[in-house]
Symmetry: C2
Subunit: 416 residues, 2 copies
């Protein structure tokens, strides 16, 4: 993507993205218009990206399902992109109604060019001329999120949550660092408030922590939008459109004021564990196994390989529960061929993770976690670590307890 | 519009337009796909124009009304055009599902260029390259009706019923004379079947009769589509998508096999009559009156001016009932200024009309109509005639009777 730096600093551009709940009803759309008005009154030039209203996208998918079980991805993108087009026109009307000049643009109209991968297209470039012209005419510019066009003007979509990415890409090409992501929660929390009552909102979080949290099941932001923000150094302010509280700013870790050892804990319950016992411990077996998984479009998350005696190894890994039957079939075929002793599946697991940039400069975090678990008799079945995160596969029945003790021992203790 | 004649006769192109009821549900869309399949199997290259599903357009207008009473016409067009975009994608999916290759295009994608008059735009040109390429690839081409773009790529719409015009324009630029308009009635009838039980379907009707019927309240086709068809010599086959019966072909009168004196009778009940008595009979008064009406965007239909004694004239004319109060106010102002004696409004009128190309070559039709009315004691308050039509303003309570006697004396008698 071609980024030219801040085009016109005097415009004081801010990009705001409003999610489906934020524009879910005509009244919500009017509330969003009022919020935008506070920014234009404050001297900002506002570029707004909106998602489809409420459950529109799901409803359109359900409509297509009444026609065919396998919709062509080009036609599905043609269909789904209408959701955002409805929102942008209504928001423009709501702004006009309160005396704010505004104009809406589809992805096609601002030449939001993507590759041709329907339903998961990647943004390649955005033309800024038309947006800049409208901004200099003192108009609020409203852009349909989630959608673009390929070089042949076919309509493409960016995948679920893609409006976040549209917003970050616009901030990047318009040369502003300020991008607000409005959603129905107050920001990024240290844990799921439905499980941990003492959870608290983070003021700041780094890109890498946010990506790790997203990967581990905390779905506040579209991962690609965070990668984009990191690449183009955009500060993402994740906040609620239902109040005026400050939310959480996703930023470079170098700019963060406070760095906790652990910023958040998550539990992912949609995966199952497969173990292949006692296969020959020779080079290429793991590669073969996981390339078979890849060829069959099975998403593999955690992988642990252990060497046993007699040159035999065991491999454990996790797949989505919905993919378990398919994955087991493939594993059994491979196991028979290789002469392994058994393939075992376990469904009732959870992946409990702790994420924090502070881990980079702290020693013994893993040890402290294992101690906390063992004190509560929580057995760890698999462990995997990254630079800023530790994930443990445990029995699903212990997941809530594990989250609570991690949150108490690390986050609550540290914040005091 | 630039029309180059039949581009590739070997493609055997047919243009079909399906209205909102015809694609009102997923099941209806599947039925339309099956119908299209009979044409592709028969060796036709099919270009399909579709309207929005069922009441979608009304629902979208109601949604906008929840935001603002006066939506900007640009943003309203942005909103409304999504309705057709939903239909085209679903129809493409339905065709794929039964093994027919198909591709959908928005107005923007086929460069359906219009002027910039949002909500009532006029088509200026259509690019045929992309359509022709898809047709030569043996694909059914599905085009969103009702919508286009202006030269700055703003989305425009053609006004109510505009999909008919989209279809005719496509037939014209693709150089085919065959355009089928699928609707929820079996064709064009000699009278409204809800009033005249003995009404019959016309096999053929001329462009001018169709235009006259449309003007006089029989709203089967969008008038502009008929004007387009006349200009480009397209034969419009108006028929039902709910059965395989032949409908009515709208065609040049020179090609018609049978020409009835009167092809159809209509009653229009949404107008009211205003009479201004005894205004000075001097040049320019009528011009002044009707330019005032025009400036105030009041649609005036029938006008009769009669000269009285003492250089005084009376003017009667009809306006929409919904405009009556506004029109009366303007007339009273003018009447006061000119010293007329009174302005009178009458709401309970109907305009009963008979239309037929046969009138051109028949004498005494008007006289026969007046005789028929007077035999039934139906008083005629105003008369206006065109080349192929006669309209009479009568008391609304006599409207059904007037239709019945006209239908019996002219249409039923002649068809026997």
């Amino acid at each position: 993507m071609n980024v030219r730096g801040n085009l016109m600093p005097e415009l004081n551009i801010i990009v705001q993205k409003y999610g489906g709940t934020s524009v879910g009803t005509p009244d919500r759309i009017k509330a969003v218009a009022e919020r935008i008005k506070t920014y234009t009154a404050g001297g900002h030039s506002v570029v707004v990206v909106v998602s489809a209203m409420g459950k529109t996208t799901d409803e359109l998918i359900a409509l297509a399902a009444q026609i065919t079980k396998k919709p062509s991805s080009r036609e599905l993108d043609m269909l789904l992109s209408t959701g955002e087009q409805v929102s942008i026109s209504l928001l423009a009307m709501a702004l006009h109604e309160i005396g704010i000049d505004a104009i809406s643009y589809t992805g096609s109209q601002i030449k939001m060019i993507t590759d041709g991968n329907f339903s998961k297209a990647k943004i390649e470039s955005i033309e800024t001329d038309r947006i800049m012209k409208s901004l200099t005419e003192k108009r609020v510019v409203i852009v349909a999120g989630f959608q673009g066009i390929d070089t042949e003007e076919n309509i493409t979509t960016l995948g679920r949550g893609g409006s976040d990415t549209s917003a970050v890409a616009l901030a990047a090409v318009l040369g502003t660092r300020d991008c607000e992501i409005y959603t129905d929660v107050n920001g990024v929390f240290t844990a799921d408030p439905r499980i941990i009552s003492s959870t608290s909102k983070l003021k700041e979080i780094s890109y890498d922590e946010m990506l790790e949290l997203a990967r581990l099941g905390a779905a506040v932001l579209h991962s690609r939008s965070v990668e984009f923000a990191k690449k183009y150094n955009i500060r993402l302010h994740v906040r609620s459109s239902f109040n005026y509280e400050e939310g959480t700013i996703v930023m470079p870790k170098e700019e963060m004021m406070e760095k906790f050892v652990i910023s958040g804990v998550t539990a992912k319950r949609d995966e199952a564990k497969i173990t292949i016992w006692d296969i020959p411990d020779q080079p290429g077996i793991a590669a073969r196994l996981f390339s078979i998984m890849g060829q069959n479009k099975l998403y593999v998350n955690m992988i642990v390989q252990s060497t046993g005696k007699d040159n035999k190894a065991s491999i454990s890994f996790t797949v989505l529960k919905s993919d378990l039957d398919k994955a087991m079939g493939l594993c059994e075929d491979l196991n028979n061929e290789l002469g392994g002793t058994a393939v075992e599946a376990k469904k009732d697991i959870a992946i409990v993770s702790a994420v924090g940039v502070g881990m980079l400069s702290s020693y013994g975090v893993a040890g402290r976690i294992f101690k906390v678990f063992s004190d509560r008799k929580i057995n760890i079945e698999m462990i995997s670590t990254s630079e800023i995160g530790i994930s443990c596969v445990i029995d699903e029945k212990h997941a809530d307890l594990a989250l609570k003790v991690l949150h108490k021992e690390f986050i609550e203790a540290e914040q005091q």
